[in-house]
Symmetry: C2
Subunit: 302 residues, 2 copies
Amino acid sequence: MGILVVGSVALDTVETPFGRVEEVLGGSAIYFSVSASFFTDVRLVAVVGDDFSDKHIQTLKKRGIDLQGLEKKPGSTFRWTGKYGFNLSDAQTQFLGLNVFADFSPRIPEAYRETPFLFLANIQPSLQLEVLKQLKRPDIVAADTMNCWIAEKRKDLLELLKRVDILTINESEARQLSEEYNLVKAARRIQAMGPKILVIKQGEYGVLMFEGDQIFSAPGYPLETVYDPTGAGDTFAGGFMGYLVNTRNFGSENLRRAIVFGSVMASFNVEDFSLNRLVKLTYPEIEERYHQFKRLSHFEGI
Amino acid sequence: MGILVVGSVALDTVETPFGRVEEVLGGSAIYFSVSASFFTDVRLVAVVGDDFSDKHIQTLKKRGIDLQGLEKKPGSTFRWTGKYGFNLSDAQTQFLGLNVFADFSPRIPEAYRETPFLFLANIQPSLQLEVLKQLKRPDIVAADTMNCWIAEKRKDLLELLKRVDILTINESEARQLSEEYNLVKAARRIQAMGPKILVIKQGEYGVLMFEGDQIFSAPGYPLETVYDPTGAGDTFAGGFMGYLVNTRNFGSENLRRAIVFGSVMASFNVEDFSLNRLVKLTYPEIEERYHQFKRLSHFEGI
C-alpha cells in the first residue's frame, strides 16, 4: 500500500558557490518520492505543465513511483530560481513562477483513497486539508509547512495540525509557529496543537525529534563536499517516512532509526545538484552510511 | 598531580533576557577550574587585583583548587560587561577593563613545573608560549584561543599550535583559523598545524571532535531554561580535560566519554548566572545527566 505524497514538482535553477544548474528536476514531492522509494511504494499527487519532459517522467518511473496522480495541465511547470552563499543554509529566492501550480487543487485518484500513510509536503494548509477530506482515515498523517503559511494562513494551519500525527519543520519555523524561542518549550506547545511526534530540522546540525516527553538528537553528517542543499528537508522526510512505512513500527526505537535513515538520505542528496546523487544511490550505500552515523555519534556508558 | 590551567579571572556584569548580575565571579580560568575540580586536582595560574574579594577565594578553595599560582597585584581585577539577546549565542561586549590583566605575565610556581597536564585558556598566544617554556615537558598540552588572536597574532598562534595536542575552538574560529568554510576541511587543515585532537564547539548544537581521521559528534543538551551562556566553552573544557586527566586514558572511546562529560558540565553551567549552578552541583547529578545524554543520542544499529 505504501505512502501517498502530495506536494510540488518544480523545475529549479540553482546557484551555489560550487556551480549552477538550470531547469533541473525539483520540488518537495519529487525529493520526498525519490527518497522514500528506496524503502516503500510511493504514490505521487502533484501537477506539472505541458512542458514537463518525458525524461523526468522516466526518472520517476525508474524509481517505481506511481504517477497515476501526477496531473498534466496546459501551461508551464512551477519554476524556482535560488542562490546560496557559502554557508549553504538559506537560499535567496531570485525568481518564483507558480504557473500551473498557482491553481493546484489536489485530486486524489479513487485507487489512492485508502492509502494508510500520507505525507502532506509543503503546500497551502487549506489544500492540505482538502487532501485529508478525500482520504478514508489514513493510519498516519505527516506534514510539512513553511514560514509564509505560519504567518498568513495560521488559522487553516492550526485546523490541519489537529489532524497531523507527525510534523516536520525547521528550527526557525518551530519558533515562529509556537511564538517561543526556547526549542524545548516550542516543541511542547506544538505538540499540544496536535502532532504527537515533532521533528525539528536543524540543517547541518542534524535533527531533534520530540516524541511524547522523549527527545532524540541525531547529528548532521560532516561532509567534505556539500554542493547543493536544495531538497534536503524533503529528502530527509522521504527516508524517515519511507522507513517507517516499510517497517510499520512506530515505537520509540524504530522512530529513532527512521530519523537516522532520513538523515542518511539527506546527507547523500546534498552531495550533488538536483536528484543527481539520489538517482545513482544503492541500498548498500545507504546501509553503509547508517553505520557511519552510528560510529559518528556513538559513545560508551559509564 | 592533576592539571594546570593558565587564563583569566574576571568580574563579570552580564545581562540576558532572563536577568542581570553585576561583578560576579567569571573568567576562562575560573570556569575551567571549577568544572575540572569535579574530576581531578586543579592548579590555577592567573592574576587578580587587590579588590578581589575573599568570598571568591573561598569559593575556589571549597572546590579544592590550588591557588598558589593566583597572583594578587595592586589595582583592579579584570572587568567584563556583556549583553545577550534571545538567541543567547553571542554576547555583545559593552565594557572591557583589562586592569591588572593588561600586564599579565604568567609565572609558574616551582612546585607546578612538572604538572603533566596543561590547559592554556584563552590569553595572548605569546603568553601561552611563555607558559610552555616554564614547564618541564608536560605530557599533554591543551589550548583555547579566540578570533582576535587568530587575526592579529597569527604568527605566534601558529608557533604555539605546533606544540599543542588538543585545541578547543568554536566553529567560526575554526573557519577563521583554517581559512576554509567547510568544517571537515577546516579541521584537516588545523590538525596539520599541530593539534592531533581538535574539538570544535558549536554552542547549543553540541561539539564535533576530530581525532586522527575519526569524527565524533556530541549533541547539545536541549534545556528548557538557559539563563546565561557565559563560560560554557571553558566549563566544557574543564569537564573534558578533567575527566581525561582523572582516567589517564587518551584512547578514542575515552576521548568520546570525556567530550560528553564536558558537555554535561556546560549544560549545567548555562542553567544559572556566573558559577551559581556549578558550585551547587554534585557528582551524582553529573552522572545522571551523562545517562540522559546517552538516551538523548542513542539509536540502535541495523
